[in-house]
Subunit: 588 residues, 2 copies
């Protein structure tokens, strides 16, 4: 089909174009027939321009205009006109003009879309995903993907300006499942062998440091074959960063510069630096989370010292078993009904809590079923330590330390929601959480796992405890948290093959297994590895937060469902037996 | 290990720093002990600085300096000194100064590398690939990957500046093998189903046009499970571009702007635009290739009209079977020996030629075994048409048209090499080849294949022949050629579901198969698809040509061998039976 190409986009014409002959290409956003005059909003990525078919102006084109339907693709030639008085539309930049159509060519017709494109909020998401190419026409999805594209460019220019090299790492790599499941790719050339898709380019970026590239970054797809949660996809995008001859302060500064630039260029807003830092252990105790949301305060308090001599069995047990007693004030919630309190009790029980202690603060002191188990000093101690006042509601959770803190952390978030502590204009809260435990004990398999990953360096003054008390060793690891979401995580790495061996020992990875899986990395460390460290951002989540969306699917062009399917092209799908034969595999 | 971080890189110090206390971090490039004074070239990505250990200056550090070996990683503190007269090294930017070492910390020792890092040209490539992290330390690989990183940035900024959106397309997609083999990824959630890794994001980028994103680009990994040739990798990088409401001139202009910028920013050189355009049929007839190298002329001539009435059986047959008689002059090669001519004859026979006719041009005319089969008019016709003169050598190949032209094209390249027609300062030659045939007939399977891909639009005035004479239809397809290498290929696409159906019919793809594989795309076309087209660059090859290398492995950080293995991490590899069970597959 031959057609005249646009002279302007649909977002471009202004008053100064009045009188000009123009050509526009675009989609019919909607068509209104007002007493013989036809008005069409012509849409493209850049905006909307009203085009007008008037029988007295051009009888031919008016006739063709009547054939137009929503989502038809057209090329129009016409003359820019000042809109008649009182018909201006000040809500769009082209709203002072319209285009009187001389000639129109229909470039493509369109069936009626299965859902209204601009009003799809209430459409079943499965339908939107099946017709993703239509859903992507919506103003929301256009805005989100345009913003995401801008973020790529900001990120890349920032790292380029700071002397980083963008280096591509392989997608077909070795399977080394340690943590999540690998996606596997059968080899056609090597019978019975498989590649894995990268869960992260971790080993490669460390090797690039061994190679002396000094500063590396990449925006790269990573893959994890895990059961999906709302904000997970089988493939996800990472901003991957690694630097040599640095400690964690260097990484912090580099990342903070990026965040300043992203806020400035994407949202035209300023953030304060340096970003606050908080020790993991403090974060857990005060906020019950390794990714605390500090847009509001609502701080938890440890009350163990108040109950040092308590005879109340619950608290006595907690203290004797080195557990914790943690308290939280819900300001002004003293009037919660028994029913409301049951709902909240249920909430923490579902998270695994043995129970929830609540107390109303009145002018006369504490009013609660458990009050009778406490001495007056203890009651006063609670009030003093929590800074509670009449009309408040208090919560106490006790038990094993990390578990109890974590549950109280969820209760903290729940109460913030109920108390409406996050307002639309609340400032974003960025936070570095540092000094994570190096290892995590897993009760099921009775072994330690790396909390970050097995290449993370222990704190240098704690290395000696790696064999004697591995659970107490902390790591040179750090997370960047935005509004209670982990948006990036990283560490200073081990760069010494001997320390790396000790780390594998602590993880219960045998010499043989370490050699088979990571021999090349440990070998590389023997040829002059520099001290190095890095960080990786979850880019989808970052884009989601910047876009103000609740689902990462709203910032991904072609996402998968929670069962890892694409409803649009119906993948995964069955393949020809011939393809499987060539790969030496069959279905079991 | 605690250490002082660098104040400067190893490429940074100049005369104006003399007298300053500095800290450098880097690798020992080499160490020379000259009568008690130890000189070390300290290396990082940014350059080399000479550091000096002198016993009279600092006895302690001198002692430690003696322990240094090649590739040790160190942090040195010292004072910048003007080098003594006549010891300057003008070949490096830091060559006027050196650093007298006050203190040195060895950050990591290094085993002796398995090959000399800076002189690895003669090292077996398998060894270089096994120790890729060391090979990447070489000046050559550093230079190549730094240049490649610069190219990414140039490309991205160019497209951003021109209003393109960078949008990520999925890596886990539907298997639609049409052309090359897919890499498959078994699904753990959907028993017996598979994803495929993208051979290109073709369908997605077309859908993004249907969605109205108007201008899309992406630098993206693609995958083809084919047997590898020297310049192929199982995973390769593509600069992927698509635009709406365009014809091929718009694509050409956009790409030419990119090439100007790449030459300017990467090589600081200018290229002329517009880039020359040549019809596919002309390229074949004159240069025997759809990617002619025009750095030299050496033009082939079609001689059919000279032999219209020839009784010489070979030519008679060629003309009667609608074949071709193609001639080429090798200037001044009239003195080639019989042995040399045998070698060349063998060369074309191995390419599938029935034979090679050669003739020496002498003052008396043509001197050749076949001369006796030709009339004097024919002989004169050859000389005139080829513009030959005494002392030249002539070649004639005849037979089926495309095959003969192609063989002559290879002979043309071979003779250019022998005649040394490409000099180091020869200007690069860029060329658009246009108007490719839409379809290619395959004798083995007795069907047509899409020469570009099945989404390429036929020429609009040839659409009618799609059913009656499909082999004669040309396409709105184009390749960009650099020095005889195809560096990019693209087309204006079909944007109409009815025409797309006719194209699948011409390809012998059944309605059912088209529906199963590409139904979502054809369906999308029914909801208002704009006219659109695009192009994709092979980025590895482009980087290789810019770097002046002969192998794409020299511009890829971690390449695979020709058997698609990584010698460094030994992938692909066997995986646990447990992993296969979860994926419902077993080895056959």
């Amino acid at each position: 089909m031959k057609f005249n190409r646009r002279t302007h986009t649909c977002g471009e014409l202004r008053e100064e174009n009045i009188g000009e002959k123009v050509i526009l290409n675009g989609w019919v956003d909607n068509r209104r027939d007002l007493g013989g005059v036809i008005f069409v909003d012509l849409r493209d990525r850049y905006g909307i321009t009203q085009i007008v078919f008037e029988p007295h102006y051009n009888v031919e084109s008016h006739k063709e205009g009547s054939a137009l339907r929503s989502e038809f693709v057209v090329a129009v030639e016409g003359t820019v006109r000042k809109r008649p008085d009182n018909t201006e539309n000040l809500s769009i930049p082209t709203g002072l003009i319209d285009v009187m159509v001389d000639k129109i060519i229909i470039l493509n017709e369109a069936k009626t879309p299965p859902f209204p494109i601009q009003k799809s909020e209430n459409v079943n998401e499965d339908i939107r995903l099946e017709y993703r190419y239509l859903d992507l026409r919506s103003e929301k999805m256009q805005k989100n993907l345009i913003m995401r594209s801008k973020m790529y460019n900001t990120v890349r220019n920032y790292f380029n300006d700071n002397g980083f090299l963008e280096i591509e790492t392989p997608y077909l790599m070795k399977s080394t499942p340690e943590g999540a499941r690998d996606f596997l790719v059968p080899s056609r050339i090597h019978r019975g062998k498989f590649y894995a898709l990268p869960q992260s380019p971790q080993t490669y970026k460390q090797l690039l440091m061994v190679s002396g590239f000094d500063k590396y970054f990449q925006i790269v797809k990573c893959f994890r074959d895990e059961d999906l949660r709302a904000d997970r996809q089988p493939e996800f995008t990472q901003i991957d960063i690694e630097m040599s001859f640095v400690d964690q302060e260097d990484i912090f500064q580099m990342v903070e510069g990026l965040m300043v630039k992203l806020y400035k260029e994407t949202k035209n807003s300023e953030i304060e630096t340096p970003i606050r830092r908080m020790d993991f252990h403090e974060a857990m105790e005060k906020y019950g989370s390794d990714k605390p949301d500090l847009r509001f305060n609502l701080e938890m308090k440890t009350l163990n010292h108040v109950f040092e001599n308590s005879e109340f069995r619950v608290f006595k047990d907690a203290i004797e078993s080195k557990g914790i007693i943690s308290g939280l004030v819900a300001e002004g919630c003293g009037d919660y009904t028994r029913n409301q309190l049951d709902v909240i009790t249920n909430f923490v029980k579902q998270l695994g809590a043995g129970g929830l202690i609540w107390m109303r603060v009145t002018e006369d002191g504490l009013d609660a079923p458990v009050a009778k188990f406490m001495t007056d000093d203890e009651k006063q101690g609670i009030i003093d330590n929590l800074g509670a006042k009449p009309g408040d509601l208090l919560f106490i959770i006790s038990g094993p330390k990390m578990k109890s803190l974590s549950i109280m952390g969820f209760l903290r978030l729940e109460m913030a929601k109920r108390l409406n502590l996050i307002k639309p204009d609340t400032k974003p809260s960025l936070l570095w959480v540092t000094n994570f435990p190096l290892l995590e004990w897993d009760e099921d398999t009775k072994r330690f796992y790396a909390m970050h990953h097995p290449f993370t360096s222990p704190n240098l003054d704690e290395v000696d405890k790696l064999e004697t008390d591995p659970g107490s060793v902390n790591a040179r690891a750090y997370d960047l948290v935005l509004n209670g979401n982990e948006i990036a995580g990283g560490s200073i790495r081990i760069h010494n093959s001997e320390l790396q061996s000790r780390m594998f020992d602590a993880l219960g990875v045998s010499k043989e297994e370490a050699e088979t899986k990571f021999g090349f990395l440990m070998n590389a460390f023997k040829y002059g590895a520099p001290p190095h460290g890095g960080i990786a951002f979850g880019f989808d989540r970052l884009a989601m937060l910047f876009a103000g969306e609740d689902s990462i699917r709203d910032v991904i062009a072609f996402p998968k469902t929670s069962s890892a399917s694409s409803l649009m092209d119906d993948s995964p799908s069955f393949v020809d037996e011939e393809q499987l034969k060539e790969l030496f595999i069959k279905i079991r």
